[in-house]
Symmetry: none
Subunit: 405 residues, 2 copies
């Protein structure tokens, strides 16, 4: 009688959808013969990642799937992004997500600075030349992305973003709480914004870009301010040694803040061109050393945001082919799900429940024979909440937390 000893949690980011082309979904239309084999041998159901009808962010969704109640620990996306790009955040820090952008006459003309690909030089200049009334850490991430962390006494997350979220006037941060900490933090953020503008405007890289007819990355827009939360380390909560394999800073950051090991993957981009085969190789290696592995594969979400049914379907077919190289054994419990639905019809996250499957020893195999939104809705696990997933998996390992005697 076997009981599983380790868990592989595969999150197909934004993979779930609503029926559109031919009244079906990209996941149902894709060739997912390997995952369907797991479905035949496993149990399916649907998950309300947060609650029925509530569209999850990727941040709150991953927290929920990992068993951290987002209503208790979620303070904003900034802290996870900052941790994910490699800033050593500490509980109490104020963290932001940032975008390098192009500003002309105080107006944001491109929130991504012409999709600039490498801003490390600009970030170095900012670190050297900007001086604030508190300690700060700034780091460039993939593409136009960056993160900022403020550290010190008397700071507050109760301030507004400087990012207007669409082309338009660049914003000033304002306090949203009537206290000295919020006022001081808004002042620091506005000071940062002003100094960054000066540093970047003068930077040779931007002068070169202008000459080459490219948009200069002459400003940094901030959003997602949050105080870095204290997450009880994953191993202390679950007894499992966790590793995270992902390309996006957010998921890496959630892994780091919950004290999992981040395992980088060559060629993992977080985009539709990501090197999924390499990720799967890493998973096979990781399963030898860790008792919990979180694999996030991002591309389907991107295709959903782009409203591209065919691209989403093709990507999921490619994911299936890559996953077919997983080397699983009888001690591994595999769970496959999505962090949220990203319907190509909406191009945004929606609150539809997501399908999930669990495969491995001890699972009560149901009649579902394929992994998609329709068959999962008829699955033997019925419909549960995102926060129920981790206790369910741990319990299958014989690690459920007993209540009563």
């Amino acid at each position: 009688m076997d009981v599983a000893k380790k868990i592989l949690l595969v999150v197909l980011d934004g993979a779930a959808d609503r029926p559109s082309v031919n009244a079906t979904t990209p996941l149902a239309a894709a060739n997912t013969s390997y995952i369907n084999q797991l479905a035949r041998e496993g149990i399916l159901g649907t998950l309300d990642v947060i609650a029925p009808g509530t569209p999850p962010g990727s941040d709150t969704a991953h927290l929920s799937l990992l068993g951290y109640a987002p209503k208790k620990v979620y303070t904003g996306r900034g802290p996870f992004e900052a941790a994910g790009v490699g800033i050593e955040v500490r509980p109490g820090d104020i963290a932001f997500r940032g975008n390098f952008a192009t500003v002309k006459n105080g107006t944001v003309v491109d929130r991504r600075a012409g999709r600039i690909s490498d801003t490390r030089e600009l970030a170095e200049a900012i670190k050297e030349q900007v001086h604030l009334d508190c300690e700060f850490f700034f780091k460039a991430s993939a593409g136009h992305r960056a993160a900022l962390v403020l550290r010190g006494e008397g700071l507050s997350p109760n301030i507004t973003s400087t990012d207007p979220r669409r082309p338009g006037t660049m914003l000033r941060s304002r306090q949203t709480a009537d206290d000295a900490q919020a006022r001081r933090t808004a002042d620091i953020v506005n000071d940062f914004t002003r100094q960054v503008r000066e540093v970047l405007e003068e930077h040779q890289l931007n002068k070169d870009r202008s000459i080459a007819g490219e948009l200069p990355a002459n400003a940094v827009l901030l959003r997602g301010a949050g105080v870095v939360p204290h997450l009880v380390p994953f191993e202390r909560r679950t007894g499992l040694k966790g590793a995270v394999i992902a390309a996006t800073a957010l998921v890496i950051g959630i892994g780091k803040l919950s004290a999992m090991q981040y395992i980088p993957t060559k060629g993992a981009t977080g985009h539709i061109d990501s090197n999924i085969d390499e990720k799967v190789k890493n998973v096979n290696e990781a399963l030898k050393k860790y008792t919990f592995v979180l694999l996030n594969v991002k591309g389907a979400d991107e295709a959903g945001h782009d409203g591209d049914f065919e691209a989403k379907k093709r990507f999921l077919t490619r994911v299936d082919a890559a996953l077919s190289n997983l080397t699983l054994n009888e001690s591994t419990l595999v769970a496959i799900t999505a962090d949220h639905t990203t319907p190509v019809s909406l191009r945004e996250h929606s609150g539809d429940p997501v399908p999930f499957l669990i495969h491995g020893p001890g699972v009560r195999i149901d009649r579902s024979d394929s992994f998609n939104e329709f068959s999962a809705a008829q699955g033997g696990s019925n419909r549960i909440r995102g926060l129920d997933l981790m206790p369910t998996l741990l319990d299958l390992l014989g690690k459920g937390k007993k209540f009563g005697a």
Copy 2:
């Protein structure tokens, strides 16, 4: 890629049941070929309107289905009845449901005064001749029904009803809280009761009834005292412009208190003889101007309370025929459900989950091909709570409230 833009919510009041005659339910036995067509093209599930095993009132049920948490906003049925009969209630008013009744020697001999059909003259006399220690509004409703509203400083809902609920001694209102407001309000209610008795006893209409051998409507019994709650207007909560089409004062009142437009229907009685065709015509018109329409059809509940399986089945067959004249288009999401189960075996509301179906763009069509308690229990939406319905519908319109980023 279509996303729905408006919602039609059809509440078949008390339509759900338990199997009895031929081991089936009135809804399953009725000819509902139109609704079954919607079921084939839609998704089904069951709803615990309040919680498993909790019989909902019609008031708390409708609040829940509209997304207002009854545990937070429900103060009693009086406020909704009063608003429904057309009294312009204000938050803070104390409101009651009332019955014209027949009292002899202090004993209630008929709680409905021989099912008197028109009490407007009597209500006028009460308004003119009764004088209380606070402002008051009294209005006759359908049949023997009426509503009373007390307005002023220092009033309280913490008092008992005067309605004994069955033939027997007419009650005096007593305070249920140990404060001056409750004492004063009970005094006012008892004063109202006494004066009403005098006014009605002397009224010509009652003298005529006695001569004709009919029971006089010589008293008003009060119950359901509640302070009028503040409901956040439906449009502010949902972004949808709402209209309500219903015959019963309660549902009309819930619509009014949530700032929806009430659209009256000729011949809509709230009984089994109601003009459902006319209601459906009104729905078709309303869907041109409003982005949310609540249609309540009451008769099945009445048949359930009467314990009449055949009448309930016939009424639901008639409802289906009327609904087949709905003119729906691709921008309309339709949800059909019941506010509660009223089993003919119990003749009272029960806490069984009710079936629901959702039909329209974006819906993940399941295998269920008929709308009844049995097929809904196997539906792709599984089992959700009443309060989950409105977020689910709003999310299908792309109006879900995202949590996280």
